[in-house]
Symmetry: C2
Subunit: 263 residues, 2 copies
Amino acid sequence: MMIVKIGGGKAINLKGAVQDLAELGESFVIVHGANAIRDEIAEKMGHPTRVVTSISGYSSVFSDEATIDAIMMGYSGIQNKRLVELCQQHGINAIGLSGIDGRLIEGARNKGIRAKQGDKTIVLRDYSGKPKSVNGELLGLLLSHGYIPVICIPIIDENNVAINSENDDIVNLLQEALHAETVVQLIEAPGYMADIGDASSLVRTISKSELEAREARVEGRMKRKMLALKKLTESGAKRVIISDGRVDHPIKDALSGKGTTIQ
Amino acid sequence: MMIVKIGGGKAINLKGAVQDLAELGESFVIVHGANAIRDEIAEKMGHPTRVVTSISGYSSVFSDEATIDAIMMGYSGIQNKRLVELCQQHGINAIGLSGIDGRLIEGARNKGIRAKQGDKTIVLRDYSGKPKSVNGELLGLLLSHGYIPVICIPIIDENNVAINSENDDIVNLLQEALHAETVVQLIEAPGYMADIGDASSLVRTISKSELEAREARVEGRMKRKMLALKKLTESGAKRVIISDGRVDHPIKDALSGKGTTIQ
């Protein structure tokens, strides 16, 4: 079993990734993003994506109702269905699901983002939250009948409302349910780079202890990423590979040791 | 078993329909439209929906790639997911699927629409076609595990390409697979009206022989509708109800004999 997380950037070679997956001879699930197309849709629909920064320094998309609409259009709509179509064209019997379908991913809605507005601290409440559980029964049912789940946001909160969520957290939950040996994460970069602007600073391998050291050194979003990676290794993934999704063979390259491998 | 076809107009009371369905105590599947929201999205994305009329007089949406994108955003995206969310809020464990997911609805792509361009007859080829088969195994798997399928276009063609299709044809195929006793169709009108502009001309019941007589008298899209209805009764639906989706209790009203019943 493999979990493939595909980033939502425009430059990711979806076709190449699907071609590779079709030759894999191993079962897998896909979790995909769609932030580039969501932003494009949100802009054209007249509600551009708005990023808010909490007083603790963490930036996130402010997910009001129009943003959830844009997520449904961009993630569950065009990106999910074009990816399922690609899979079908390569003999993978994919089935696209958002986290609300069959209560696949249940979460808890955030209490609010504490942010600055001028001098005042305000609490912004939106439709976002943390995934808490995965419907392993539904995943097992589909996988055991030859269907490959292609998963995206939104997820469903404790009041049955569709909410935005982080794919890193979703991947962690899926890993707990599926016990994948390998987790591949395709991004728009060669892998994890010590210096984000310098491709030659690509880190080839990171051990679990190095992960902890790096986590202690970084801040904000990158800290969250490091924590998510640490969790993945803790929940039994033998290797986690962060690799370039823009190349001809994103999955083959990843599995052959390009990118960053965490073991 | 009941099949519920929900029209894609803005005025359909989705919440009322879902509330009614939650109290039904019977298994069902939903097939929904989203033409209003698709047109809105297509317009805002810069590719307004374009209707073409064939030389035989039949009008249809010209489904180029941008139209399929708009269908994915409008049908599989926002309309499907908001409907699934509503279902979940009313205790219905809905799972939204397009026809391409798990090859739920396979079809054959149209050879082309013969249309006039000035003096010339041209053949317009688009991404549309006729559904030919339903993945009954997948439907059965989901239904037998308590999941309610909420189905929409696109469907998948013989080359694994996502195509547009008519919901009337999809409902007919579902009926052949599911042998529903009742088929409810919610529209933005009181039911089938002899005179489309006159609500008092609502036809309360139509027998199968009347359906044939009416079919012979009408043209174009309405002829197709009549044919589809005839097929439904032939494939074992004991009653087909065309009813008002704009009321407080669309399903309850339909089942209590409001609208037009075909028996």
